[in-house]
Symmetry: C2
Subunit: 493 residues, 2 copies
């Protein structure tokens, strides 16, 4: 892996100056084109051995390109905001938008590598994390991102020489700290771990480029050239790499599915309803105030047919909670800023911190429901969304975020009745649009999409609860009860 | 995952008979076409809940198709031959050749799932194993294989009902054993584990098809139809799925590489040579006879320029060993049988069992050397070979097989001298061919291929040793010494 980066590559100043002259012009042009087209973001991960020249090269990139459209993302110890959320949250919120270049000084690789060296992660845990990272990066690539990962290498001898040189110069001596020397001691372990990590994450969609870090000219020129090459290629071949991540859905051979199996005639009497509502709201109120909940967070995902009663159900849930504790996120068309990011970005930004609740009225499942049925995205995109969503919910789960998902189902007659009722009721009229009437025509397509969604995303840790919603009272009680019972189980109380 | 498979799908006998009539003809035709074209193998994995109808459906497949070109691969407890080798060895040697259908009753999923339920594997270890399986299956798909994975599902209730029904009939009562009932007890755990495993291994190139197992007609018809559909698609669209697994190689910006860095002037005096040779051969002889070696195995991989002295070096190594203990595998063009299998199959078959040594004179690296340079395979194929080879060597390593790889390098002048010498020497004449002269013309292309190979496949557990081989004596001593020192390290002696 590192053999050729230990050969002591170097470029003399004269050659360097000559080559850079042309390179700078081309880099600036490419960056300009990237910004104008604004079709994809660029992510440069700058990693490597301490003293391998990471900051020097980042500075050089700033010098060569337009610094206004370049941002460096550094990650030191996480803030309390970050600590309270899944560990990938900080990276998600730092992703550069389309048209920009984000330079990651430190990345999702830093912690696993450091923890493996420290021995707090086992080899299997590292491999598991790397498999997750491969999926994350394949999602970035499928969303169009150009991802280049650099590793600046130094042999142990070269690292020592580097530190000594920096120390000797009063202008740079401050950069060599106690930590630097202790890193020299774990150089062998770093190379072992990094060699493995780089090998299993060296994917076609996010390749590692190992660069000999010992000579500034060589390192900078290599990075500049690789970046330019990749930029030019993507700008002229405007097709992101398509990594197949999801199998097609095999055809059904009979008419039975999870929705036909629902008994939509279920009802709850008014009196029972009032009693049950009070009971479960009271219980929910206790649960989210329980000290154990401070170490958890809750995501409630509401999906359902139009007019299925999501809004009303959400209100019955929030009635049991302190408004300072929860946030309702109604999901409509994405903003410009959201459109410039990977699909899941706009949901990641609302992930609750510990002790908090986020309620999504419509969710990330829009991609496999409305976007699929209406043809707003390509088949390859909604197919891969199943896997990406599972990964997203898995990341929430391991961070202690409890995910509860509801699909509210009504039948076509009941929907029609509600539409008409809404039209007749003044204060409900805003709720019914042309689009709602159109969606009704696609009833069967939606039914199929819902069944496939349940098949592919009802997981052990984030199962779907299908709610018979012809009777709103039944639906509300079932939802409240499901939330309470799940919280009780997760909090072991 | 299993929601829709718990709905109690069923197909009545009349519909079944009618549908099967057409299906059988089509399946037979497709199987015939598959066999005639012999372009790809088909692998059907039949897994699922006990009592879910695995053997019933396999029997049905035999009834529907030509049984001569169908083979069922069952895996019970491994033989001693198998136990002594990496755990994937038994699956590799069972792979159906191109044109055939292999039905796997039990597969590489069986053990991880069982061990997870028993608690002997952690969740992380399972995920790690699944990542490995995903890579293995993507290799199969890239090699052209059509892989379909079926999971026959039963709810706990349906499983109990099934056992009771089987027990009640004297013709089938024998099939319900104590183990069956104890499996019923771990049904929930199985569903948990399988749900996770299926989700993360449900890839576009090897999809899982979950089938409700409770009704014979429904299950058989579903499997038959999915199989037919997939077969027809692959037979008419004769393009296997291409899963990108390897990044391109970034261009170099200077002339330094691992080969130019070698000092080919290194020599060893005759007298020193004799002494050293005796010393290291003696040491090697002790090491492979050491009791600790009985739990290890050794793979020696020799690659090098033509006339670099591989054969002579191999002889100096084998001289120290008992011929019953080692096997030399000279790698030339593949046989017909080997050509009908994935690329690495012909190397897997020679993996030594514990206590044994296999010496490869030329190796699996042929794909990234001669096949790359001569254009015998597509770029995508040799690019992905790096990752496949790393996985192969990793599998050897975790099974205790020590892998030591040598590249013997000579310079162009020395090669010419040796070619001429060979032509002049009667008993060496068979060694020099037209091809050798042609290869000389591609010296630079080979040099590049070797450097890329070292970059991408010199791993912590299977590093390359580059051998300066202008002086044969120096080369032989370096090789023997490297082997001995590595064995000492691995055996902790």
């Amino acid at each position: 892996m590192f053999e050729s980066a230990e050969l002591g590559h170097s470029i003399d100043n004269k050659t360097f100056r000559k080559e850079v002259e042309a390179l700078r012009v081309e880099l600036l042009n490419a960056q300009f084109e990237l910004r104008e087209a604004a079709k994809f973001p660029v992510m440069l991960l700058i990693s490597g051995v301490d003293g391998g020249g990471k900051s020097e090269t980042i500075n050089m990139l700033y010098e060569w390109m337009d610094p206004r459209f370049l941002s460096t993302l550094a990650f030191s110890s996480p803030s309390d905001e970050e600590r309270d959320r899944p560990h990938m949250w900080r990276y998600w919120r730092s992703l550069p938008p389309k048209g920009r270049i984000g330079v990651f000084a430190g990345s999702w690789y830093s912690t696993p590598i450091a923890e493996r060296i420290a021995g707090t992660l086992t080899a299997d845990e590292v491999d598991h994390e790397m498999a997750r990272i491969n999926r994350f990066e394949s999602m970035l690539a499928n969303e169009g991102a150009l991802v280049l990962k650099f590793w600046f290498h130094l042999s142990k001898k070269a690292q020592r020489a580097r530190f000594e040189k920096l120390e000797a110069d009063p202008r740079t001596a401050w950069r060599v700290t106690k930590e630097s020397w202790s890193r020299l001691k774990t150089h062998d372990e770093l190379i072992d771990v990094a060699g493995h990590v780089l090998r299993i994450t060296n994917t076609p969609w996010a390749p590692w480029i190992v660069v000999d870090g010992s000579d500034d000219n060589y390192r900078n020129l290599r990075v500049g050239k690789v970046l330019l090459e990749a930029l030019k290629y993507r700008l002229t071949n405007d097709v992101p790499m398509r990594i197949p991540v999801a199998p097609p859905i095999p055809p059904r051979i009979d008419g039975r599915d999870v929705l036909t199996a629902l008994d939509l005639s279920l009802t709850v009497e008014k009196e029972t309803y009032e009693k049950q509502l009070a009971k479960w709201q009271g219980r929910l109120s206790e649960l989210v105030r329980h000290p154990k909940f401070r170490n958890k967070a809750l995501v409630l995902a509401f999906e359902g047919s139009d007019a299925a009663g999501k809004g009303g159900a959400v209100r019955r849930v929030t009635a049991a909670m302190d408004p300072r504790q929860f946030q309702i996120v109604p999901v409509a068309a994405p903003t410009d800023e959201e459109r410039a990011q990977p699909y899941l970005w706009r949901f990641w930004r609302h992930v609750p911190r510990k002790g908090r609740v986020t309620i999504f009225d419509r969710t990330w499942y829009g991609r496999v429901l409305v976007e699929r049925v209406e043809g707003f995205c390509a088949e390859a995109d909604w197919l891969r969304a199943y896997a990406e969503i599972n990964d997203f919910e898995h990341a929430l789960d391991v961070a202690g975020v409890i995910v509860i998902k509801f699909w509210l189902q009504i039948d076509a007659d009941e929907q029609l009745r509600r539409f008409k009722e809404r039209e007749a009721t003044d204060f409900k009229r805003f709720k019914i649009t042309e689009e709602d009437w159109r969606n009704r025509d696609k009833w069967d397509a939606y039914r199929e999409a819902v069944c496939d969604m349940v098949d592919r995303t009802s997981t052990g840790q984030a199962p779907w609860t299908l709610v018979e919603a012809n009777d709103k009272k039944h639906a509300r009680i079932k939802i409240l009860k499901t939330i309470c019972q799940r919280l009780e189980r997760e909090m072991g109380s």
